[in-house]
């Protein structure tokens, strides 16, 4: 069949691979992105008990980015963006994350073509709640993106996070998900059971004073200052792209702003597949606060695309 596709102009600021799985502009609704909640499948519809309370993460919503002094900022392309929010609560960096100290958004899909390259792109920005004077940049601990993937053999979560601040000190560097060398019991804060190392690195894995965790290692040459602006109510839309190779189960490349980081040679941690989720393809975003203050990640639009693998 011969056909012609007219792409919407908004796609020209993305670099998609040949098959566009989704182009989610949040002026058109939530497009399937929602809060991340545990599995309510036990007696009384209770989730599995663990060392972390997974039921109180902050809510995700459609935002007009409205602030007290400038009014409505709107989004990069229209009025609405997807806003991830934390509650105003945080533990010290090296402690287990406080209930509500993160906010998430997840979309749930499944594989539909042979393994090749998989790419995530978004235009986004971040800010704390403007509930106090001054500049709140240091109150944002981190934000990140990962793919939750499972093929016929392995479950794995390749992803990156921007570690912005550790206990009030700006760090501002990129890290990638990898939990090699960690046991499953160490991973879930001493509780060995259902959860395996490398899975859900945004909240599992011990955290260390230098900023790395059991699940995050520094991207080589990954220090980067992002455009934060001069006031918590002035937001600048920025670009992030991450490409992974599903055939090699490895990282390929990331781009943040105008910098490209070669991630070839690095991999996520592979663990045996979980029951019932073969073919899983779940993109997931999160934001984490560093102190007793809500912080927000705004996402104007997202493109997820697939294509053939790189030639050897």
């Amino acid at each position: 069949m011969n056909y012609t596709i007219a792409f919407p102009p908004g796609l020209s600021r993305f670099q998609p691979l040949p098959t566009i799985l989704c182009y989610d502009d949040f002026d058109r609704g939530t497009n399937g992105w929602l809060d991340l909640k545990p599995n309510y499948r036990f007696e009384g519809f209770e989730p599995r008990k663990g060392p972390l309370d997974l039921t109180r993460w902050g809510p995700t919503m459609l935002s007009s980015a409205t602030f007290a002094f400038p009014g409505t900022h709107g989004s990069m392309d229209g009025t609405y963006s997807l806003k991830l929010a934390t509650r105003p609560v945080a533990n010290p960096y090296e402690d287990i994350p406080a209930p509500g100290s993160l906010g998430h958004a997840i979309k749930r899909m499944a594989m539909h073509q042979p393994p090749g390259l998989l790419r995530f792109e978004m235009w986004y920005t971040y800010t704390p709640e403007q509930d106090r004077i001054g500049l709140g940049e240091k109150d944002i601990r981190a934000f990140g993106f990962l793919f939750d993937l499972q093929d016929g053999q392995y479950r794995y979560m390749p992803g990156v996070r921007y570690l912005n601040s550790v206990d009030g000190e700006l760090v501002q560097r990129w890290q990638y998900c990898n939990a090699d060398g960690v046991t499953d019991a160490e991973w879930e804060y001493g509780m060995e059971g259902w959860c395996k190392r490398g899975i859900d690195p945004q909240w599992f894995g011990r955290r260390y004073a230098d900023g790395h965790t059991d699940g995050f290692k520094d991207v080589p040459d990954g220090a980067q200052h992002l455009c934060y602006n001069e006031s918590d109510d002035k937001i600048n839309w920025m670009y992030l792209r991450l490409t992974v190779d599903l055939e090699k189960r490895a990282y390929v490349e990331m781009q943040s702003g105008n910098r490209v980081f070669d991630l070839r040679g690095l991999g996520p941690t592979l663990v045996p597949g979980y029951a019932n989720i073969e073919g899983l393809l779940n993109p997931m975003l999160w934001v984490e606060t560093d102190t007793d203050r809500r912080v927000f990640l705004y996402v104007d639009s997202i493109v997820i695309s697939m294509g053939p693998g790189e030639k050897a």
Partner: protein, 109 residues
């Protein structure tokens, strides 16, 4: 076709005294309902009132409210609310008082 979204703001949260749900941006919606379920309630009634805000930080009572005298469900219906919404809850706050609460927010354009 209208847009619709339900968000679960609290699930079986134990509250004492004054409590408020997380600030929620709802500028795209024309109508909202907060569903309030008290799984447990002892030591006094539970009062819930809708609040609106210009900026998500400073809050004003909108006027819509509901009460629960014991375990059960109630709702608060709001329209013409601007861009921000939250639900203020007044629960028993003496040492014997308990309220275990789930709050859903249903929005429709």
């Amino acid at each position: 076709m209208r847009s619709f979204q339900t968000t679960v703001l609290e699930r079986k949260t134990g509250i004492h005294g004054a409590f408020a749900t997380e600030p929620f941006e709802a500028g795209w919606a024309a109508e909202a309902i907060y569903f309030v379920e008290a799984h447990e309630l002892a030591g006094g009634p539970l009062h819930a009132r809708a609040q609106i805000s210009p900026d998500g930080i400073r809050w004003i009572d909108e006027g819509s409210a509901c009460d629960l005298a014991g375990p059960g469900q109630a709702f608060v219906r709001v329209a013409h609310f601007g861009g921000w919404l939250r639900l203020a809850l007044d629960a028993p706050d003496d040492s014997a008082g308990t309220a275990l609460v789930t709050v859903h927010l249903a929005l429709k354009s």
